[in-house]
């Protein structure tokens, strides 16, 4: 059992607000506007922002879930979700114990972590060729 398995009851999520989330949404909108205009991707480290559990849930509700959801298994799982705003991705990396080690909002066509890496492709090619030769 991990800490994430302990149920958390979120109370009064609708009327609890100190303004942090609206500021963050405005920043995301600005970054998305810039990405559309210039192609410059951006990332926001959610772990560096002071957010309580309620506000974190509010952000999740505000961004919602879009058409794409991907799972990664690399020294622990990772969740990659395109929010209901295309180009705005929520990337959550966990360690093998199930604890969050990085929590990012990425403004991009596709989060960098999803793309295949040249070194991995090279190693994979070697394995494939070895399998053919057997």
């Amino acid at each position: 059992m991990t800490l994430q398995d302990i149920a958390v009851k979120v109370e009064r999520a609708d009327d609890y607000s100190v303004g942090n989330i609206s500021a963050l949404l405005a920043e995301i909108a600005t970054l998305l506007e810039k990405f559309i205009a210039t192609g410059q991707s951006a990332e926001i480290d959610l772990k560096s922002l002071p957010m309580g559990a309620l506000e974190y849930e509010q952000l999740r509700l505000a961004l919602g879930q879009g058409e794409v959801a991907a799972n990664l298994e690399a020294i622990g799982p990772s969740e990659i979700i395109e929010t209901k705003y295309p180009g705005v991705w929520w990337v959550t990396h966990y360690n093998v114990e199930g604890d969050i080690v990085a929590d990012l909002i990425e403004i991009a066509n596709c989060p960098a972590i999803l793309t295949s890496q040249p070194q991995d492709m090279q190693a994979g090619l070697a394995r494939l060729q070895a399998a053919i030769e057997k």
Binding site: I75, H93, D99, A102, A112
Partner: protein
């Protein structure tokens, strides 16, 4: 020829993919409070990093700092962080004991002279020639001075090593002193906290490996990336402070609404640490999120700074009683309050004041 001592080579041997390594570096960037976009640069530097030898000496301490590190929820500490360093001596964690353990320390000091990192937790007793704490028959002071000579840098882990901590609290019976009071000719980085945040310890090590130098430090020798702002600056309850909304007791309406804990003694405004953003227990929360004010454990002499439940702005005396006298004595009251407060502060500095029920209920 490929260098077989690099982290990249060791990870490849273990079958860890480049994507996994990039994920690790993304977590490292977050740990070190660097922009997320720096992960590829960190990956490039870390991949070529060689494992430095690390000697960890534990002196007058409670082992809480080691507990903190080994409970670290940073990216697989057990596999990757320890892959990044060669922990050649740690008398709590190592399997060897007795003469074999001491020999591994001596070998590491000799083989990596001038290059190893020396990590220290606990303060060092100096009274009566340091006799109050010894390891293998040698005083902590002797061991520290010997190990410091060949160290590239010293990392003082925890408030005891950084500032003296609990052992140095009044009346300081062992003459406890922090590392920086005893070693003057080596770079020292203080990772204060009781205990320090585990990911801050690993983040500092990762920074050293990535950039080959110690991170920027504040005036107390702490890394600015983690201690650059106060708990109050980054507290999610800060907007309530700005609105003047304070909990008055631990069970009133304000406490239930999550208002600011300043009036309940929170030391957040004067405490520099990363608890409010890095958090504890795998990001589950930090003391203020659990409804208790900050104790100020990463600041010097926090044990001798009076009650944990007295507001920072409050005088340390019973204002009510003195205010009664003020009504009779007029202008003399201000002088009385000031004098009484000074006397109480002096008394607190001389004898560590115990927490009473009154402290909590006031």
């Amino acid at each position: 020829m490929k260098d077989h001592d690099t982290l990249e080579h060791r990870l490849t041997q273990q079958g860890i993919s480049r994507r996994s390594f990039l994920k690790f570096c993304t977590a490292m960037a977050s740990l070190m409070a660097l922009p997320p976009g720096t992960a590829p640069a960190i990956a490039a530097a870390l991949a070529q990093a060689k494992r430095p030898s690390v000697i960890w000496l534990s002196f007058q301490e409670c082992t809480g700092c080691t507990e903190s590190l080994t409970r670290s929820h940073s990216p697989t500490l057990e596999s990757l962080i320890f892959d990044m360093i060669s922990l050649d001596y740690h008398h709590t964690l190592q399997a060897a004991s007795g003469f074999a353990a001491e020999k591994s320390r001596e070998d590491a000091m000799k083989d990596f002279y001038g290059k190893y990192l020396l990590l220290v937790d606990g303060s060092i007793p100096t009274k009566d020639n340091g006799i109050y704490s010894t390891i293998a028959g040698r005083t902590n002071l002797d061991l520290l001075q010997e190990a410091a000579k060949g160290a590239a840098a010293i990392v003082a882990v925890g408030s005891c090593a950084a500032f003296g901590g609990l052992p140095m609290a009044k009346p300081n019976p062992t003459g406890a002193a922090p590392v920086s009071d005893l070693i003057k000719d080596k770079p020292i980085i203080n990772i204060s906290g009781c205990p320090p945040i585990p990911s801050v310890i690993t983040g500092v090590l990762a920074h050293y490996l990535t950039f080959g130098e110690l991170p920027a430090l504040d005036e107390l020798g702490r890394p600015k990336a983690f201690y650059g702002e106060t708990i109050h600056d980054r507290c999610y309850r800060r907007p309530f402070y700005d609105q003047g909304k304070f909990a008055k007791t631990f069970d009133d309406e304000g406490a239930r609404n999550g208002w600011c804990l300043y009036e309940l003694g929170c030391k957040g405004p004067t405490t520099h640490n990363a608890c409010a953003t890095t958090k504890w227990n795998g990001g589950a929360g930090f003391p203020i999120e659990a409804g208790h004010g900050c104790l100020g454990c990463s600041e010097p002499n926090f044990w001798d700074a009076g009650s944990f439940y007295t507001p920072l702005a409050a005088p340390t005396s019973n204002i009510g009683a003195i205010a009664g006298a003020a009504a009779l004595a007029g202008a003399a009251a201000a002088v009385a309050l000031s004098a009484a407060d000074r006397a109480k502060k002096k008394s607190l500095q001389q004898t560590h004041e115990k927490l009473t029920v009154k402290d909590i209920s006031n």
